[in-house]
Subunit: 466 residues, 2 copies
């Protein structure tokens, strides 16, 4: 099954069925995003009542298309979906994304089953219905409701909520988080999360897998694919419908019965699936896995502009099981030679608002080269320039480059915290551009580091057993 998904994520041709001239119709938005996304394959549109939409000539039916298509995107009222699926299948389409709602989630499970049977009988697979499409960065395929898609990267993401999924893409674009593939799976009537996991497990452009789950359709198969997948790649998951109120809301949404949360939690623990509590955490942790080396142990140094930040970070690290050993002599000496006399003289290294941004790279180099430390945390870098001394911004950006080189050279992870957020500081933006994630708080950075440490320990335990 796995390799056949290549035609889903890298189709040679895509057709939007229900392409609309009305800019407020989903059939318009989907075609526009596909065009604006820069997809390099062939794009077709079907609409029996229009000659063209957005410059694309409209065919009256799928049968009139000049060639077979790999991927059909169906944006029609639910009552018209069955016929469209039959036609796409007969025309040889390999996949159909059914955006339309009005199936299992609103009591029409019969119609949903009929659509899937029609597709399968014709060798076609269905994504959805009741979904928001897919995004495949490496083929510039933007077949989802948002045109605000993130850059290429190595996170592959499956979401049971279209709204959350598409918003996350827009959010990730703003934060510079790179994605490989995104699938809004909707009612998961045919193509399933376990199948996608099996594909991502061997997909070279996927380094980490992110999941947003409301309910579980086939628990046994999900567990089986997680158990195999997590041995090769980290899986980060958010599961909603945890409380009775949430579970009730979930059952009315996708029509599925929510699984007891404790079972999910147990499975996640057993296979070291990292559980995130909200979408932002899901992507911060995924971003860390996709762009930083995994720490080899639990020992950290903290480098900070201000004492308050250092305390907050020390709290967060201790709470997450990461230790702050004393500074070894060689690090102490570099810091003492670099900083004003009233620096903290200990770990956290409080740089007492020392304005020269290259002081950070000097100290980080000593820290990351020291065998005492498995990772470093950097707090407040770039803040002096962005909130107090704009004349420093240029050299902060230069120092950011040198910091990212140190991270690469030492192959140890650096967790950067900028509570202004990456969009506020030029230095943070430069770090993100160089592939170093920036966290909005010490706690969120400590959570990501701790998830990475625990995942490495899980892999070690597993490999020592075999």
């Amino acid at each position: 099954m796995g390799d056949s998904l290549e035609h889903l994520f890298s189709p040679r041709s895509v057709c939007v069925i229900g392409a609309s001239r009305d800019p407020e119709a989903w059939g318009h938005v989907l075609l526009r995003n596909l065009l604006n996304g820069g997809f390099r394959g062939r794009i077709y549109a079907v609409n029996p009542r229009a000659n063209e939409v957005l410059g694309i000539p409209c065919h009256r039916s799928v049968f009139e298309l000049p060639e077979e298509i790999d991927l059909a995107v169906i944006a029609l009222p639910s009552g018209l979906v069955y016929d469209a699926v039959v036609e796409c299948g007969e025309k040889g389409a390999k996949y159909a994304i059914v955006v339309s709602a009005g199936f299992g989630e609103s009591g029409r499970s019969d119609l949903e089953r009929k659509v899937v049977q029609a597709a399968r009988a014709r060798g076609m697979r269905i994504i959805g219905p009741n979904c928001m499409g897919i995004y495949s960065s490496h083929s510039d395929l933007v077949s989802t409701f948002t045109s605000l898609v993130p850059p290429r990267g190595e996170i592959s993401f499956v979401s049971q909520s279209g709204a959350v999924g598409t918003t996350v893409l827009a959010w990730a674009k703003e934060h510079g988080v790179g994605f490989s593939k995104f699938v809004s799976i909707g009612n998961e009537s045919d193509l399933s999360i376990p199948e996608l996991l099996e594909y991502f497990e061997t997909d070279d452009s996927t380094k980490v897998i992110a999941l947003y789950l409301e309910s579980v359709k086939d628990g046994r198969r999900l567990v089986s694919s997680l158990s195999s997948c997590t041995l090769k790649k980290p899986v980060v998951a958010m599961k909603v419908g945890v409380t009775s109120a949430g579970a009730a809301a979930a059952s009315s949404h996708t029509g599925a019965i929510a699984v007891e949360d404790k079972i999910i939690d147990g499975v996640f623990r057993q296979y070291s699936v990292i559980r995130a509590r909200d979408p932002a955490e899901l992507f911060r942790i995924s971003f860390a896995f996709s762009s930083l080396p995994i720490p080899s142990g639990r020992s950290a140094a903290v480098v900070t502009t201000g004492g308050g930040w250092g305390i907050e970070c020390a709290d967060a690290l201790e709470m997450k099981g990461i230790s702050l050993p004393p500074l070894p002599r060689e690090v102490f000496e570099v810091a003492d030679a670099t900083l004003p006399g009233f620096w903290s003289k200990r770990n956290p290294i409080d740089m007492v608002a020392s304005p020269d941004p290259f002081n950070y790279s000097r100290i980080l180099e000593a820290v990351l080269k020291s065998p005492e430390f498995d990772m470093a945390f950097l707090l407040g870098f770039g803040t002096i320039g962005s909130i107090a001394m704009p004349s420093l911004i240029r050299s902060e950006i230069e120092a950011a480059k040198s910091i990212s080189e140190i991270v690469r050279a030492t192959n140890k992870p650096l967790f950067v915290v900028d509570m202004l957020g990456p969009s506020q500081s030029a230095a943070s933006r430069a770090l993100i551009k160089a592939g170093i994630p920036v966290f909005p708080s010490s706690l969120s950075a400590a959570e990501a580091a701790s998830a990475m440490v625990r995942y490495r320990e899980f892999r070690r335990r597993k490999s020592s057993r075999t």
Copy 2:
């Protein structure tokens, strides 16, 4: 003591001692921020080696100033601070902000005591040393290291960390959070947090008090002022130095001994001080208290663009003790008449990506007018315009205005969640401008709502006992 602080927050004249021509010196940044902030009183500068800085003529010493000053800002190396304080005191200054470090926090408690004694003997009070200044929005007094200050509002904020405090101001500006007064208290050598609490308790332009604490100097007096203050105004506090690593870092930072965290936690619970876990949470909760009515009970309706958001929010609310009762008939009927047939038919009200933004205001009006609900949560409003259909943005902004009018008219709080963040969506920016806070996640909104509910219950218990 209380009313005398008027001259601190609304001084008639301010003098920067150690004004510098070097744009990378703190004595330059402070004068520049004061000038750019639009302070309406008189501004002086002292620097014996310069004729003028940033267009302000420099005096050789405080004694040469043409009048007495209310507030002196001292940005000199620590060795020169004692003499400057003596001179300011003799010239009649009422307050001196001592920015300079190199006192108690680096083993020079003797020098710190000497400075305070010199000031007190001359009727002057000290803020700091080792602090980052103050901001007083109502008198446009920007006497801190960041020029990026938030708009006027009713949050007053005291921080023991200058770095966190000044960054928070910059962050709050971006998020549209209004502040009344900010004090970076540094080593708290003289003017203390309890004195500030006593002042804010009766200050008309302070509606909520925010604290960022690393250590406690005079526990008895802090408890006594909290016990009085919380009966009148909500106090939201973040306390760092919780773990042993954090406490060790704190003791090297301000030179104070960290108090056992459990004692702090007990005091906070007893007086219903709302404890925040990070600076962003501190200000989200403070913003909610400053701009929304406090809910009268624990019952909420959720209105959402997408089902996934509704489930996440239902989870978050149940976890925080807020209930989602079924929809009363009058609300059901409005929703059913407004929305596509496949809407959720229950609470959360899933609007199934219904694009017309005025549908939100119609449904919110029904929800907030219903006696069944004490508050409402709004998720995904503005998202369709900002990520999929730009043609909707204009009417989303119009609908935002109508939503804020409904909130005002019904006097019930609305918690808006925009996971893109307020800077991403024009609709969210319009809501913030109209005084409605926007939260980045359901969990953070639920935390703020729950803090407000618990505070109201605390006040009720207290008033029923007297």
